[in-house]
Symmetry: C2
Subunit: 457 residues, 2 copies
C-alpha cells in the first residue's frame, strides 16, 4: 500500500538544492528516489542526462490512441538560508498538527507526491485504464530550468503526441477554494554591478571627492519606480494584456480580504499601482523587484571604507504578452542611460522565462480554440473539485512563474492544467516551509478523479 | 642595538584586530610585545585594563620641571577582508622593494615603531636628557576608542602635567613633502535598518503589492545627497568653519595633481561640492558616506525573494566646529521624515568623535594662544623636517579622523603635534597595506631631532 506521507518524508530527506554545488549527493538521492518509485509503479523510467541535473522521463506503456497526459513536477528545492530561522531542520521532515515541515514540502515535493499517489491509486484500482501517463520531473526548476529547452527539443516529437500537461506547482488561496491557474507570470533576472574606485578606500582620506558606488547604486535603484508604484522604464507596460472581464469576475468570487492579507504579510500598507487592488496587481501586472543587495562592510561594528563595488539582484515578473528579452533590454537601457557617468556599470545575465495564459472552456465569451481532450480535462476538473472540495474551482492567473509552461506551449503546442496545492502560509522559498496534509489528501483524490474522467472519455 | 624593521615585523605578526572577537590572542600578543619593548627601554609600564582592550601607559621617570611629551599610538588594526586580494598573508610581514607589507604596517604599527625607535636612540645617545616622555598606546582605535574617555577621566590629572601630545597617525602626501596635521575630521557612525514584511517572501506570489525594503532603502540613500554632491540634510553645514587664507596658501604649496590623484583612485571623475577642489573637499568639508549595504540574497545565481529587511552602514566625516551628536540627530531626523511610511526604520548607533583643529605659530596672522613648549615643538618640527627631508613641513588639516585628539584637548587641554608618516599608496584599511621603509627611517630621525630640541629648551 502506497503511503504518500511516508513517501514524502523520504523525499524531503534528500537535500536537493539545485543551485548549491555542495548538494550534488542530495540531488542524486532525490532523483533516484523518484525514479525508483515510478519504476516500482510499472513505469518505463528514463533518466535523461543534462549538463547539470538529470530529467526523469517515465512512461506508462499503452495504446497510442488513448488520451495522454504528461504530469510535470520538479525534485529540486530552494536554498535554506537563513538557517537559524527554521524551527526544525529543513531536511528532517517534522509533522506538527496537520502540517509537514521541511524544505520542498510545498515546492514541489508534496504536491508532486500527491499526483504520484493519485496515479498509484488509479492504477491499483484499474490496472488496465485506457490512459497514457508520462511523468516529466526535472531537477533544475529552482535554478530556472536551464537544461529544459534542449530537453524539449530532443523530446518534442514524443511530447507532441500527448494531449495536455498536468501539474501541481501553483497556489491555493485557502483550504476551501481551489484555483486552477490560467496564467503565470514570466521572469527576467539579472544582476547589476556598480564599480567606483579601483579598490576599497579609507573614507577619511578620500571621502567626499568622488561618488560612492553604494550611493550610485541607490540612485539607480531609487529611479526604477514612480512614487505611485509603477515600474519607471519606458515601454515596460507596452505589451501587457488587458485584464478580461471574466477574470475580474472570478477574482471577485475569490473575495480577497485585504486586511487579512496585509496582516499575513506583516506590512504597514500596500503599495500598488493606481487602479489595481493587491489581488489584481499580483496577477495581472508586471513587477521589478530587488532580491538582494550588497557592497562594502556588512559585519559587526564599523569599517570606514568607501567600497570599490556594489551590486543588486533584480528580477522582473512579466505578464502576457511581455517578452523576457525585450523587458531585459528596456530595463538595462534605462539603467545605462540614467546611471551616474562617474561610475562603471555592468550586468550579469541570469535566467528568464516568458509568461503564459490559457483560457478554460465556459468562462470566456469567445470559446477558446483548444483540443477536445484538454477541454475534457478542464470540465473533469470542474466536476472533481466540486465533489471533493464542495465548490467548483476558480480559474485565475497567478503571480508566480513556471517558465517551462510557456516553453512547452511554444515547442510542443501543449497547454497545461495547473491544479495548485500550496497555501499562502506554506512559506515557499522561505524558512519553515510546510505543506498541509489535508490538502495533500484532497489533492490526491481530485487528481485521481480528473485522470479517471479523462480516460473515460 | 634597536632594529626598528625587525621589531616592526614582530609587531605585525600579532593579528590584533580589535573589532574581531576571534582575535583576542593577537590583541594580547601585540600589547605584551609593546609593553615588553618599552619596559626594556627603562619605562615604567602600566597596562590599564578597560572593558575591552587594555591601554599601555608607560612613563620615563624624570624631573617634574622638565618638558613633557605624551607620545600616542595604537596597537590594534583593521579587519583584513577581502582576504583573497592580499598578495601576501596580512599577518606574515613581507618586504618587497623598499616597502613592508602587512595589516597595520602603516596604520599604526610602522609609524608607532618609528617613534619608539626615535626615543630609543635619543636615550641611547643621551641617557640623562631632561625630557619627560609618556607613551600612551591604546588597543581600540579601530573600533572608535570606546574605553578612551573613561581612561582620560581617570588619568587626566597626570596627563594635564604634560605639555603636548606627539603622534604619527596621519598622512604624508608624498615622500618629498612632510605635512604636519593641523586638523582632523570627526566621525558620526550609525547603521540604518529598513524592515518590510515579517519574513522573506516569494517575489512571484507577493511581488508588486508592497514596497520592497531594498527599494525603500535605496530611496532613502539616494535622497541624502544633492545632485551636485552636497549632503542634503537641513542644518548639516551650519557649523562648518570657514577655510582660513593661510590654509589655502599651504594647500597651494602642496600642489595636488588632480589627474594623478584620479588615476591613483582609479575613478572616472571627481564629484565634489561646487567651489571646492578635491584636495579642499577632503580636508575642509564634511561628508556622508555609505560604508556597507546588505539585504536579501547575495549568493551565486538567483533567489526570487522579497527580503524582509535591508540595512546600510552610514558614516559622516565632520569638520570643525561640527558636533557629532548634533549631526547624527540631523541626519536621523531627515531619514525619519523622508522614509516611506509603509516600511519600518530603526537605527543602531555606532561610534563617533568630534573634529579637531590647532594653529601652528607663524602661519596665521592672529598668533595662536598656546603653551610655550607646544610652540617650541612646532618650531623644532619646522627645523627638523627641513633638515631631514630638505623642505619645511606644510601645516594642513586632513580628511582622516583620530577622535581621541579632540577628546584629549577637551579633557586635558593638551594640543597635538601630528607628524604623519603614511603615504597615499599605503592602502590603509584595505588589502595589501604597506609602509615605506625610507619614510620610516626619516621619520625616526626627525622625531629624534624634535624631541632633542624640545628637551634643549
Amino acid at each position: 500500500m502506497f503511503d504518500p506521507v511516508e513517501k514524502l518524508k523520504e523525499f524531503i530527506r534528500h537535500p536537493s538544492i539545485s543551485t548549491d554545488p555542495k548538494s550534488l549527493e542530495g540531488m542524486r538521492g532525490a532523483q533516484q528516489f523518484v525514479s525508483g518509485l515510478l519504476g516500482s509503479m510499472g513505469f518505463a523510467v528514463e533518466v535523461v542526462a543534462t549538463p547539470k541535473h538529470p530529467i526523469i522521463y517515465a512512461e506508462r506503456p499503452g495504446d497510442p490512441a488513448w488520451p495522454h497526459v504528461v504530469i510535470y513536477g520538479h525534485y529540486d528545492v530552494q536554498p535554506v538560508d537563513p538557517l537559524n530561522l527554521w524551527q526544525s531542520p529543513p531536511f528532517d521532515p517534522a509533522i506538527r498538527g496537520n502540517r509537514i515541515y521541511g524544505r520542498g514540502a510545498a515546492d514541489n515535493k508534496g504536491p508532486l507526491m500527491a499526483n504520484i499517489a493519485a496515479v498509484a491509486r488509479l492504477l491499483e484500482k484499474n490496472p488496465r485504464i485506457p490512459l497514457r501517463i508520462t511523468f516529466l520531473i526535472e531537477g533544475e526548476e529552482e535554478m530556472g530550468s536551464p537544461s529544459f529547452p534542449a530537453f524539449l527539443e530532443k523530446f518534442k516529437d514524443r511530447l507532441k503526441r500527448a494531449d495536455f500537461v498536468y501539474l501541481s506547482d501553483t497556489a491555493l488561496p485557502n483550504e476551501q477554494q481551489v484555483v486552477i491557474t490560467s496564467g503565470l507570470r514570466g521572469l527576467a533576472l539579472f544582476d547589476l554591478h556598480v564599480a567606483g574606485a579601483k579598490g576599497d578606500l579609507h573614507s577619511g582620506l578620500h571621502g567626499g571627492v568622488f561618488r560612492n558606488p553604494i550611493q550610485a547604486l541607490a540612485e539607480i535603484c531609487a529611479g526604477l519606480h514612480t512614487p505611485d508604484g509603477r515600474v519607471d522604464v519606458p515601454g515596460f507596460y507596452d505589451d501587457v494584456l488587458d485584464v478580461q472581464p471574466w477574470e475580474r469576475d472570478e477574482l471577485k468570487k475569490l473575495g480577497v480580504d485585504e486586511k487579512r492579507y496585509a496582516e499575513f504579510l506583516g506590512i504597514e500598507a500596500f503599495h500598488t499601482p493606481p487602479g489595481y487592488t493587491p489581488a489584481e496587481a499580483v496577477r495581472f501586472l508586471p513587477t521589478l523587484e530587488f532580491n538582494g543587495i550588497g557592497g562594502g562592510y556588512q559585519g559587526e561594528g564599523t569599517k570606514t571604507v568607501i567600497p570599490s563595488t556594489a551590486f543588486v539582484k533584480i528580477s522582473c515578473r512579466l505578464v502576457p504578452n511581455q517578452k523576457h528579452d525585450r523587458i531585459k533590454r528596456l530595463v538595462m537601457d534605462a539603467i545605462r542611460e540614467r546611471a551616474p557617468k562617474d561610475v562603471r556599470i555592468s550586468f550579469v545575465d541570469q535566467h528568464h522565462g516568458d509568461p503564459y495564459v490559457v483560457v478554460p472552456p465556459g468562462r470566456s465569451n469567445t470559446p477558446p480554440d483548444q483540443s477536445p481532450v484538454l477541454a475534457r480535462a478542464f470540465r473533469a476538473a470542474d466536476a472533481a473539485v466540486a465533489e471533493v472540495w464542495g465548490r467548483p474551482p476558480l480559474y485565475l492567473r497567478e503571480g508566480g512563474s513556471v517558465p517551462i509552461i510557456a516553453q512547452i506551449k511554444r515547442v510542443t503546442g501543449l497547454d497545461s492544467v495547473m491544479f495548485g496545492l500550496f497555501l499562502p502560509e506554506d512559506n515557499l522559498h522561505a524558512p519553515n516551509e510546510g505543506f498541509n496534509l489535508d490538502v495533500m489528501r484532497k489533492g490526491t483524490e481530485t487528481t485521481e478523479r480528473i485522470l479517471a474522467a479523462v480516460a473515460a472519455g
